[in-house]
């Protein structure tokens, strides 16, 4: 490549692409809202909109941790199962000690431990993350079922249930939590060296390692955060459902991946943002809410989620291959 050709000034694609991709996604949110408000009168009600946001918050908690993992170019398929185990353990602790705080800490801790297990499988045993975390999914699942042995735990103190179903100034508490974690997560990814390193690992793991970044410890960190966020999500679930069973969280993994991918985070790592994931979760929730309002049977949900994931990944790859065809 000659220098003269390479230095011909070109408009920086990177930035405008980022802005554009967020813009397109916000546009999608707008269009879906307009369509839904025409289709169903029930859509544009404060209650329904708050409901959508509350559901989106659940998706966001899991998806934010997963976003960090995917930014490094890895994947965590065990989040749904982790939600289940965290919820069940937290539930029994709350029942046994009557302490919401202790239960919450244990729930998040269990998630973090599962995450650490994932991290060690990936960094120490060098198992590809999609295999390691998929195996972890079933192992955690088995542990949850064994732990619960078919029982369910229900009826938690009101102070605990408030984090799932409580209101503050007329707005559900999970929405406040979501905004809090969105801001904190954004700060972590954009304004700390950890965030910079996470992006670099995803962009080129080998180069990151040869640039002195402690890749293994950062990978362990993102897996632990992913597990801990799943633990947090499990608490909100628990508080909302007011009961815990072995199969809680089973169907959550795929929608979570869908939210991240719809949000513009590349499955190949190095590209994406938590804000994108927030919007992605919102889009997904709106679609499911719309189906609900239209009276579509819940039996359709797995089929539609599967199609959405494939479509989102396909669209993402198409736009990406257009922008960097040169390499």
């Amino acid at each position: 490549m000659s220098q003269a050709e390479a230095t011909v000034p070109r408009r920086s694609l990177a930035l405008s692409n980022d802005v554009l991709s967020v813009f397109y996604r916000l546009l999608a949110v707008g269009i879906i809202c307009v369509v839904l408000s025409f289709i169903s009168d029930a859509f544009l009600t404060t209650n329904n909109l708050l409901n959508v946001l509350r559901q989106a918050s659940l998706v966001f908690f899991m998806a934010s941790g997963l976003t960090l993992v995917i930014l490094t170019g890895k994947i965590d398929l065990s989040i749904g199962a982790t939600v289940g185990l965290s919820a069940c353990v937290a539930a029994t602790v709350i029942k046994a000690t009557d302490s919401a705080m202790l239960g919450a800490l244990v729930g998040i801790g269990v998630g973090a431990i599962v995450g650490l297990g994932n991290g060690l499988l990936v960094t120490k045993l060098r198992i590809p993350s999609f295999i390691a975390t998929y195996g972890m999914l079933w192992v955690v699942h088995g542990i949850t079922y064994y732990y619960m042995s078919g029982q369910s735990v229900y009826g938690f103190p009101a102070e605990f249930r408030a984090i799932g179903s409580g209101y503050f100034l007329g707005i559900p508490i999970p929405i406040y939590l979501m905004i809090l974690f969105l801001l904190a997560g954004n700060f972590f990814t954009k304004r700390t060296t950890y965030g910079q390193q996470i992006y670099a690992i995803g962009a080129n793991t080998v180069a990151a390692r040869l640039s002195g970044i402690p890749v293994n410890s950062r990978l362990n960190l993102v897996f632990i955060l992913s597990g801990a966020m799943a633990g947090l999500a499990s608490l909100i679930y628990l508080a909302r459902l007011n009961s815990a069973e072995g199969d809680i969280g089973e169907t959550l993994t795929l929608p979570t991946i869908a939210a991240v991918v719809i949000g513009g985070t590349s499955l190949f790592g190095g590209v994406g943002s938590l804000f994108g994931t927030f919007i992605g979760g919102l889009i997904l929730t709106l679609i499911l809410n719309g189906m609900n309002l239209l009276g579509v049977s819940a039996n359709w949900q797995p089929l539609i989620t599967g199609l959405i994931v494939l479509l989102a990944v396909w669209l993402d790859m198409k736009t990406r291959s257009k922008t960097d065809a040169s390499s």
């Binding site: 088995g142 542990i143 042995s149 991918v261 499955l267 039996n299 797995p302 089929l303 790859m317």
Partner: protein, 322 residues
């Protein structure tokens, strides 16, 4: 070219065959010894035969999974496709009364799902784990829509004879498993398609340079996975004399575990079919032994997971030593 091939030259050359066998074979022997000691019913002929019969379904899934993993791919949907094929088989059998049409329908649906997997992985290049996670969800969704979450029961009695019957003095599932193994061996080691499997995982670019339509080959490999899931559906439905919309969920975990325990690698196209056979039997022995000891299936799953970690750990140790 980098200087990296150096190390490979320095590595010893003689241990190719013997060096590979012990991993899974030792684990199998060890498990066998443990269960033979702990539970008296384990070493009886009916139980051992039972292990092989029960392993036949897993073998049908693990064989194509070996090929798929050798292409640096993965099929997470194979359990859900098995379930879908089983539900289709039962539904068609009930509505037409013909078992052969039902089996054909099941195999057709399985193959179609497999080809769908291959197509979205080969052409747009969607990473295999997301692609098959998507089709997993689609297959589950179709199961739900077909059955509304209910079991399909009232199937003809002759169906049960497939799983429980004997041919030439051998249980039919064992015969089906053996034939499938022989065919897959022939496919992998004695056909063009099979030759291209390690090439897909090892150096896809080179395969394309050799004028091979690598995408088509990849699609066919995933299609074979779906086809085998369709055949496995016959055994599964026959075993239960009914179809459940959740029956085969998670079977892909055992299949992947069997392949991994058997010593096939997730990278560079290294793999072997005999290892998978041993892996399937190892998992069969593990599950059967734990069953006899009264362990619930939830604990069995955890043990399978631990077994895989142990196998990969030992494998890694051996590689480092080499």
């Amino acid at each position: 070219m980098s200087d990296r091939t150096m190390g490979e030259r320095a590595a010893g050359q003689g241990l190719s065959f013997l060096g590979r066998v012990p991993g899974v074979a030792f684990v199998l022997v060890a498990l066998f010894a443990i269960f033979a000691t702990l539970s008296p019913g384990f070493t009886t002929v009916p139980n051992l035969s039972n292990i092989l019969v029960q392993s036949s379904i897993l073998l049908l899934l693990a064989l194509p999974m070996t090929l798929i993993i050798m292409t640096e791919g993965l099929d997470l949907s194979i359990g859900a496709v098995l379930t879908l094929a089983s539900v289709v088989l039962a539904t068609v059998a009930l509505s037409t009364g013909s078992l052969s049409i039902a089996v054909l329908a099941a195999v057709a649906v399985g193959s179609a799902m497999g080809l769908l997997n291959g197509w979205i992985i080969a052409w747009p290049g969607i990473p295999p784990f997301v692609a098959t996670l998507g089709t997993l969800s689609i297959a589950q969704g179709l199961c739900l829509l077909l059955t509304d979450g209910q079991s399909v029961v009232g199937l003809p009695d002759e169906l049960h004879t497939v799983y429980a019957g004997y041919l030439l003095g051998l249980p039919i599932p064992i015969i089906i498993g053996a034939v499938a193994y022989a065919l897959m061996h022939l496919l992998l080691y004695h056909t063009r398609l099979g030759t291209y499997v390690p090439a897909l995982g090892g150096n896809r670019e080179a395969l394309r340079h050799a004028g091979v339509n690598d995408r088509l080959v990849l699609t066919v490999i995933y299609g074979i996975g779906g086809l085998m899931a369709g055949i496995a559906a016959l055994l599964l439905t026959s075993r239960m004399s009914s179809a459940h919309p959740t029956a085969g969920i998670g079977m892909e975990f055992d299949a992947i575990a069997a392949v991994a325990v058997g010593g096939t690698q997730f990278e560079r196209g290294e793999g072997w079919l005999l290892g998978t056979l041993l892996g399937v039997i190892t998992i069969g022995v593990l599950r059967n032994g734990l069953n006899l000891l009264g362990m619930p299936s939830s604990i069995q799953v955890v043990c399978v997971g631990l077994l895989v970690i142990l196998a990969l750990f030992l494998d890694g140790m051996r590689r480092v030593e080499e």
